[in-house]
């Protein structure tokens, strides 16, 4: 850098860098504090309710043991199964949709995309009210909420094609054409040429589809409708923080939060590269 020769500039750069470091350190603390608090409080054994201090006076695994003996196990399993099934189904649906809209030029293509855009402007909570009643008639609510949830998550997932369509658009079409000239069918082109190239977006889709059910609250609450056996972690643990429960369950909530966050976070950190690619690409292409 040429301005390093000028002492004045160098000093001001020093000052601004120091300021930035201070801001970054403060930010890191602010961003991490809630999570540090959750972890610390999950080990507090002297009381189960909310207190005004952070460091436990007595440490122990009591909350985790209590967690193991509660409905939490069931919720966790429910969520895990839902997340796995959704990750598979949703990925298939989204890839079918986005690949088709990116590569094929058929009569209804523009109309279809415009239609889905308008459809997406309706709050999806509207549909949930009906879906709850329909699933109830099919016997897929309350204790059987898991298959119902999976069905709903997967069925409408084709609407979220934007990010991966943007990715497919960047793969040159000449690849398809070359393979077609060599006698490959359209399906072979997809399997043998496009999918191997699309690995980042496939992983991104799987990752987001897997993470979504862990945080879904509204739909899961509608469909489980007060039956503990059908709840996912979000709905179940939400009930622990309501007025009547928070006294006995607050520290258990913290322990549960840790248990939920650890696998998701590890998975996320491992696949972070793909997530960043997907998110950045999605923002650029809309």
């Amino acid at each position: 850098m040429s301005n390093k020769r000028h002492m004045g500039l160098r000093a001001s750069a020093h000052i601004s860098n120091t300021l930035i470091y201070i801001v970054l350190v403060v930010m890191s603390v602010v961003w991490l504090i809630p999570f540090i608090c959750i972890v610390l409080q999950s080990f507090r054994v002297e009381s189960t309710w909310q207190v005004g201090y952070v460091i436990p006076q007595k440490w122990g695994w009591d909350n985790y043991v209590a967690l193991w003996n509660s409905d939490f196990k069931r919720w966790y399993l429910n969520t895990f199964i839902t997340a796995l099934a959704t990750a598979v189904g949703q990925t298939v649906f989204v890839l079918c949709m986005s690949y088709t809209l990116s590569r094929f030029r058929f009569k209804m293509r523009q109309g279809l995309m415009r239609f889905m855009l308008v459809l997406g402007m309706f709050p999806n909570m509207l549909a949930m009210i009906v879906l709850y009643r329909v699933l109830k008639d099919l016997g897929l609510t309350q204790a059987n909420a898991v298959p119902g949830l999976i069905l709903v998550y997967i069925a409408s997932s084709g609407m979220g094609y934007y990010v991966s369509k943007g990715f497919f658009d960047t793969i040159p079409k000449s690849l398809d054409e070359a393979a077609r000239v060599d006698g490959a069918t359209r399906a072979q082109v997809l399997w043998k040429i496009i999918l191997p190239l699309a690995k980042p977006i496939v992983i991104y889709t799987i990752l987001t589809a897997f993470m979504a059910p862990w945080g879904d609250f509204v739909l899961a609450r509608y469909i489980s409708f007060g039956t503990s056996a059908g709840m996912n972690v979000a709905v179940g643990m939400y009930s622990w923080l309501q007025q009547d429960m928070i006294g006995q369950r607050y520290t258990m909530f913290c322990a549960g939060g840790v248990v939920v966050a650890i696998p998701v976070t590890i998975l996320f950190m491992c696949l972070q590269k793909y997530y960043v690619e997907g998110v950045t690409g999605g923002a650029v292409k809309g």
Binding site: N17, Y53, M121, A155, R186, G286
Partner: protein
């Protein structure tokens, strides 16, 4: 208003350009409306013409066709089967059989009741065997409406398939007449993975969308015109029926006497828009700022800072939101700390039901949303910021631009240009940002002035959380929820339309070189 030509337009300053586009957009509305109406008229004219053509073609096919074709008018797929295309023929026949089965099994019944949504409600009936009155259930309005709509879909599909089946016959006849061979079933199957592959790929996702998104939305839009609620659930306690525009009148008429739906709606809509504005732009600019800080030359440990922030994305939002909401509770850690330090003498209810004004909880949810949102924006903007050509900054520095000028003249236009569409979607997502509001405050503190409306409205409630509360409440006024849903759609649609037409970057027009 004054119209500029291209040259005059280019001479305007940025602000004037924006204003010009805004004004010309609104000035164009009457013309657009007129064109829209004309367009609808044209559409129907074309539609009528198309139907006429189709009908003529159908009649001609019947007149000129052989007996196989003619029989296909009644038994779908017969012609195809008789000409050796068994697979196609069977599929047509199967569809017809399913349709007839469905209509007999109840489709016809449900559709015939669609206009009244059921005649006989649940009632008590004298039973001679038991010598007592027992409750007898009658029609089910919910099913009538749902399956009635489904039946209409089905009929449209049948008409379309029937037409397709006739067209197939005509095409097959033409091919045979010209001495060529028809496609075999095997070739049909092969085309499904080749030149018809898009239909194979779209079949499942589209079926899912139609059944699980389109149908429910049509149903709920229709509910807005009924009196479906907790006490008219359509089966167990009473039927529900059509009420016309009554619910829209309840929601939108200003009765002036203080407590009513329209006042509540106006208040919540205003807050929803304020929230969406702040939630979108605070996150956007602060996230960009953080990304720029980390990107800056001479800052070490870039990876560490990013990882710390990204870590918070990975943790499911409901945990962090619920936990943070408890941190700020009256007996939470923040109050405990402030009390210990002696900065306050009495615990503050930041966002709870006892917060003594609307402002503090509202500011709190926006602040916490910044905490939630900055990592995402940091991620998104980091990559884009690094793509800005470095020589732009280089040459601007030689021209004597300072950091602020570089930001406003280079960075910001570039970012807005690239992320314009993202800003729009993020704004509309924030209008419907259920999780942040519901998990943080649940809408609290209660808005006493809005007690006339259903759903115990609070000061931080968005339209979407209000909708949810209405459906969960004891009264469950589904019809009101549906009206709110439709209004949310209108708000989102109008905003999108205006932004698409006014902001150049979304239309990829010009302005950045």
């Amino acid at each position: 208003m004054k119209k500029y030509n291209d040259l005059e337009y280019l001479r305007l300053s940025k602000g004037q350009k924006f204003l010009y586009r805004l004004v010309s957009f609104f000035a164009a509305i009457p013309v657009a409306l007129k064109n829209g109406c004309l367009g609808i008229g044209r559409f129907f004219k074309n539609l009528a013409a198309a139907i006429g053509r189709e009908l003529a073609d159908i009649v001609l096919t019947f007149k000129n066709g052989d007996w196989k074709t003619r029989l296909s008018f009644l038994i779908m797929g017969f012609g195809s089967m008789a000409r050796g295309q068994v697979l196609r023929g069977l599929l047509f026949l199967l569809f017809e059989a399913v349709f007839i089965f469905y209509m007999i099994m109840g489709g016809g019944h449900w559709m015939s009741l669609l206009s009244s949504l059921g005649r006989i409600g649940p009632h008590d009936e004298y039973s001679a065997v038991l010598d007592a009155y027992t409750k007898v259930y009658g029609d089910n309005s919910f099913k009538i409406l749902l399956y009635g709509v489904l039946t209409i879909f089905f009929i449209i599909a049948l008409v379309y398939t029937w037409r397709l089946n006739i067209k197939q016959n005509k095409i097959a006849e033409d091919i045979l007449r010209s001495g060529k061979k028809l496609r075999s079933g095997k070739e049909d199957l092969k085309s499904m993975v080749d030149d018809q592959f898009h239909k194979t790929l779209l079949a499942l996702p589209l079926t899912g969308i139609i059944l699980f998104t389109v149908m429910p939305i049509i149903f709920m839009v229709l509910v807005a015109f009924t009196n479906y609620d907790g006490s008219h659930d359509g089966y167990n306690n009473a039927l529900f029926t059509w009420v016309g525009l009554k619910n829209f009148r309840t929601m939108l008429t200003w009765s002036g006497s203080g407590v009513n739906y329209s006042a509540t709606f106006g208040e919540i809509l205003t807050w929803t828009l304020i929230w969406a504005f702040f939630a979108t732009f605070t996150n956007y600019f602060l996230g960009m700022f953080v990304a720029m800080m980390i990107n800056k030359k001479g800052i070490y440990l870039k990876k560490l800072w990013r990882t710390v922030l990204v870590l918070t994305i990975a943790i499911p939002q409901f945990i962090s939101l619920l936990y943070v909401s408890k941190m700020f509770a009256k007996n939470g850690i923040v109050n405990g700390l402030l009390l210990d330090l002696g900065w306050i003498t009495q615990a503050i209810d930041f966002m709870g039901s006892q917060a003594h004004n609307a402002l503090l909880p509202r500011v709190m949810v926006i602040l916490i949303n910044i905490w939630v949102g900055i990592p995402y924006l940091m991620l998104i903007t980091t990559g884009i910021l690094m793509n800005i050509p470095a020589d732009l900054y280089e040459s601007s520095r030689i021209d004597g631009a300072n950091a602020w000028q570089q930001y406003t003249k280079i960075t910001l236009p570039y970012m807005l240009f690239i992320t314009g569409p993202y800003l729009l979607t993020s704004f509309t997502n924030n209008i419907n940002n259920f999780n942040v509001i519901y998990l943080l405050t649940g809408g609290a503190p209660t808005n006493a002035a809005a007690s006339g409306a259903a759903g115990s409205v609070g000061y931080t409630d968005l339209l979407i959380t209000w909708l949810f509360k209405i459906t969960m409440g004891a009264e469950s006024q589904y019809y009101m929820a549906s009206v709110i849903g439709i209004l949310v759609f209108l708000v989102v649609a109008i905003i999108s339309l205006v932004v698409y037409n006014v902001l150049p970057s979304i239309k990829n027009e010009e302005d950045f070189q």
